[in-house]
Symmetry: C2
Subunit: 200 residues, 2 copies
Amino acid sequence: MSRMRIEPRSGVAFTLNQGDCLEVVDPDGGQVSDLLAFNSDDVRESLSNGRTFDYEETIRLSEGNRLWSNRSNPMLTIVHDSVGSHDFLLTPCSEDTFRHFYPDKPVHRGCFGNLAEALSPYGVEQDAIPCAFNIFMNVPVDQVTGKIAVLPPASKAGDVLQLRAEMDLVIGLTACSAYASNGGTFKPIDYQILPKGRDE
Amino acid sequence: MSRMRIEPRSGVAFTLNQGDCLEVVDPDGGQVSDLLAFNSDDVRESLSNGRTFDYEETIRLSEGNRLWSNRSNPMLTIVHDSVGSHDFLLTPCSEDTFRHFYPDKPVHRGCFGNLAEALSPYGVEQDAIPCAFNIFMNVPVDQVTGKIAVLPPASKAGDVLQLRAEMDLVIGLTACSAYASNGGTFKPIDYQILPKGRDE
């Protein structure tokens, strides 16, 4: 499979077989990609930020960390990370978050709307969309007050995150639509599936 | 309604009307109570840690903060907090977390199992149980590494958290079953519903 492009402010869904790797690339730098994962045999099993924080004992996930499901199974392992800052605290941007954070700007359905549409053919209901793993999203947390900030991503053009599927998955993936998460620029995201056993 | 007791390592579910307050009391000190909330008209709308972190712009929630749903509606407002440290990062303890964190100790179904049983009559499926708001749970986060720790709660005997319902809710509530979250002691949790307009 060749490299695919997710156009600015849009999203896709596809299957990823156990053992295959998903490579997510920031082609221009400074862009965020929201990732969701569901067990393709039963989409009620889905990515869980809370289970992941529990088992990995950190909120900062990078090379070697695994992303866990609500049923306490590993779904994805981060096998390569050229950036090292991603977010798993925040939910995908949506019509409601646009109204809340950008009252003077046009409302957009956001990553949430893009993911809901792309995942609908796989039987994923809108209310079952969990917190996404927000690749390249830069969300520092103040240790004392707990306050969070959303800063422009640290990713440069060509930066990469590779994740290995630990079960057969349905993946949702976006090029983020919000102003704050990508520093006010809307850029594409590229991705590629690297089949098991293939050297890239 | 008089004060009710949740026995050690157990859980309950009940309805809470819009405007009423739920008072959660740590009668002996040093105990954690996992709280879940669902829209009683449609339990697919449920508490969301990610939406809450988004809108409240902090991971440390106390007096004045609201707890939000996956549909971007406020579910509960914290109106009184005598402790000031609670957790919304971690999922309820379960058989799987017991096997993972306490391999030498007997497996317990944990808050997850207790909540699943208590909420089942309200139509809440096990896979739809989100991250709980873990009242009195003490989970510091290292600002640089992101590492989390689970320390004994700061709550003393008689400490209280009061939350006002912003919609008609089904509530799940436990006295926590895990070793780490309550410093190895299993204690009860007390609660009381304070109806709207009643001075306590």
